[in-house]
């Protein structure tokens, strides 16, 4: 497996502001890397440096092993799809798609053939003579992808392409993009602030914050074993429950205790596989557990070995159709649990909650990092 894209120690400053701080990333050929993070984290800047639309202050970018730092965007063999589609308004759809080839002096016959082929793949053949202003949002998106596809680039770059679409269309186009990626197998870098897009599309996710990579990994790794509190909180919806507690160590075994106001402390066993050797009794610690790992005793995973069940008061009930989200309070802290759809619970009730500790993760409150 060759490395299609490699970024080494990339830094970018604007005046006195460090927008990107020493980024290291690599992506295998055919992979789908998603850059995700909140606004201002630098993901678009990073994409622009890969494209060559922004210069680099330090570090290297290699495409297929070849350094591209000084190369003009049109010479890097990349193609880009923009948030606003950026279709040339005065040209027809076919002219839009063919423009890049025209600039590269590809003969007319070849251009037409390429446009026809791409139009067939994206099912926009009937739109070829229209102007962008006559197209719907989804159609424009496809034309933008067609313009990128026809270039047969080494790397596809997407800059939040679905942000301008309404919710339903966004889901449809997401599936299209995934299908296209499976068909063409082109290496892709995709920028979004929507973590659901990230999870569904990516083969690898890079979570960014304030110009630094917080974690790189497969969607499963990012979701189940987040590297720090930020990633844990950012990915997944509803967000991961984060509970503050203390380490209770008895000889070799470790547990987490949560002190409740005016009640008896609750103790949960440390999930298996977590290295607790360096933890001392009485240390502060944060336990992270996702809502779907907190549910009613009937729904909990049968194979889970470590399940803690106890009663807790039901505060808020949110029926969401396919599930019911319940907000409860344990040891004074709010926890969101995901119950089955027909769980008949009322606010004020006391109900049993099952915590699947296999899925729990521990964080060091000071550094924010996950305890491995």
């Amino acid at each position: 497996m060759t490395t299609a894209l490699e970024i080494k120690g990339l830094c970018k400053r604007f005046g006195t502001v460090d927008v990107l701080k020493s980024i290291d990333l690599s992506l295998d050929k055919g992979g789908f890397l998603v850059l995700v993070g909140p606004s201002g984290c630098g993901k678009s800047t990073l994409l622009n440096t890969i494209a060559g639309l922004e210069s680099v202050s330090a570090g290297e970018i290699l495409i297929d092993g070849q350094p591209v730092n000084g190369l003009h965007p049109s010479k890097r063999d990349i193609a880009m799809v923009f948030q606003s589609y950026a279709l040339y308004p005065n040209m027809s759809v076919s002219e839009n798609i063919a423009f890049g080839m025209e600039m590269r002096k590809v003969p007319k016959g070849d251009r037409e053939k390429a446009v026809a082929a791409v139009a067939k793949t994206l099912q926009i053949e009937h739109l070829l003579d229209r102007r962008p202003s006559q197209l719907s949002g989804g159609q424009r998106q496809r034309v933008a992808m067609g313009r990128a596809l026809v270039r047969q680039p080494r790397v596809f770059l997407f800059d939040e392409p679905l942000s301008n679409l309404d919710a339903k269309l966004r889901i449809d186009m997401r599936v299209e993009i995934k299908r296209l990626h499976q068909q063409t197998g082109t290496t892709t870098v995709y920028v979004t602030h929507d973590q659901i897009e990230a999870m569904t599309l990516a083969t690898r996710i890079a979570v960014l914050k304030d110009g630094e990579v917080q974690q790189v990994g497969t969607p499963g790794e990012i979701y189940n074993t987040p590297a720090n509190l930020f990633v844990a909180d950012f990915m997944g919806s509803p967000a991961m429950n984060l509970l503050e507690g203390r380490v209770a160590k008895n000889g070799g075994a470790a547990a987490i205790t949560f002190v409740a106001e005016g009640g008896s402390p609750i103790t949960l066993a440390v999930p298996s596989g977590v290295g607790t050797g360096h933890l001392k009794d009485g240390d502060s610690i944060i336990l992270g557990i996702r809502p779907e790992a907190v549910s009613d005793p009937q729904s909990v995973d049968r194979n889970a070995k470590t399940v803690a069940t106890f009663d807790a008061p039901v505060e808020i009930v949110e029926p969401a159709g396919s599930d019911t989200f319940v907000v409860t309070r344990v040891a004074g802290q709010e926890i969101t649990a995901r119950m089955r759809a027909d769980a008949d619970l009322k606010p004020g009730q006391v109900a049993p909650f099952a915590f699947n500790m296999e899925k729990a993760v521990l964080f060091d409150p000071e550094s924010g990092n996950r305890i491995r």
Binding site: H72, P73, S74, M80, R104
Partner: protein, 315 residues
């Protein structure tokens, strides 16, 4: 108790309310009415009046003796009287020459300056006002300035002679056949800044991502402007052409001040033609006819444009 109070309150307001409400409903229209009536009378009414006059035999004063299309016939004949050229013929030729130069060169210069200013240069805050200030001047002031500037004895020709190039000739401003070009120069100097401002606003409205896409497609700066950005400026071109054309047709002050007393009528334009025939030569009917023709020309350009603009707004 509470219910009856509410009942009486609504009842109290029922009778006088309807009258007051009616007055209030009509008030906006009443407020608009004076302006609308003024416009109806002083614009449309007067135009109709002039239109009527063009069918009469009015000389120094308005008469009501109708002569059908005789005046129009005269102007029509004069249009083709080129040897020696009739005033009207000269006026039309000058209008075409001036209009074409004015519109085309204002567009070209305005676009060029706007593109230059759009290149992320420093000092735009100083340069832009410099290109625009001529707009604040009266056409009379502009004409006066350029009349001096182009004067061969004390202006440009003399200055260039003083610098050594003694065979330089530029006496256009006193050469009857070339005067209209000087009027064009002064007009372009005055109005191109405005066109520049319009294009600059248009250029700045271009989505940055389109430029990026063009870069990735490998288009040079020149190709990007030629193939993408300038075609996107089509609405600005249209607006600018409409405004410039209508300014050109209306030009009167400018011609007067550049050419002085318009010797021999060489720099005649329809606007000066109308004025001289109506007030100096006491040929009111002919003057009215030329005014009507000026109006029709402008209307032919403006009405479709306004109609399409207002219609778009509604949809």
């Amino acid at each position: 108790m509470k219910i009856s109070l509410v009942g009486s309150a609504t009842m109290d307001r029922a009778q006088p309310a309807s009258l007051r409400a009616k007055a209030q409903a009509w008030l906006p229209r009443i407020v608009l009415a004076p302006s609308f009536v003024l416009v109806l009378i002083f614009v449309y009414g007067f135009n109709l009046w002039t239109f009527f006059l063009s069918f009469t035999n009015s000389k120094a004063f308005a008469t009501t003796r109708l002569v059908g299309l005789a005046n129009y016939q005269r102007l029509w004949d004069w249009t083709f009287a080129s040897d020696p050229p009739s005033n009207w013929h000269t006026a039309l030729v000058n209008m075409a020459v001036f209009g074409l130069l004015y519109v085309v060169l204002c567009l070209a210069l305005g676009l060029l300056l706007a593109i230059l200013l759009d290149q992320k240069i420093r000092g735009e805050g100083i340069l832009r006002p410099i290109y625009l200030y001529p707009l604040a001047l009266s056409f009379i002031v502009t004409g006066t300035a350029w009349k001096l500037f182009l004067d061969p004895r004390i202006g440009l020709e003399k200055a260039v002679h003083d610098w050594g190039w003694t065979s330089f000739h530029f006496d256009w401003v006193v050469t009857p056949s070339k005067m209209i070009y000087c009027v064009a120069i002064a007009g372009i100097w005055q109005s191109s800044g405005f066109v520049m401002a319009m294009f600059l606003a248009g250029l700045r409205g271009v989505d940055g991502e389109i430029i990026k896409a063009a870069q990735i497609d490998g288009a040079s700066t020149f190709a990007t402007y030629r193939r993408i950005i300038i075609p996107m400026m089509r609405p600005v071109f249209l607006s600018a052409i409409i405004i410039l054309t209508h300014l050109a047709i209306k030009s009167y002050d400018l011609v007067l001040s550049v050419t002085g007393k318009n010797p021999g009528g060489a720099a005649e334009l329809p606007s000066t033609f109308m004025y001289s025939f109506t007030f100096t030569r006491n040929q009111m009917a002919v003057g009215s006819t030329s005014a009507v023709i000026m109006l029709m020309t402008i209307a032919a350009i403006m009405v479709p444009y306004l109609y399409s603009e207002l219609r778009q707004k509604r949809s």
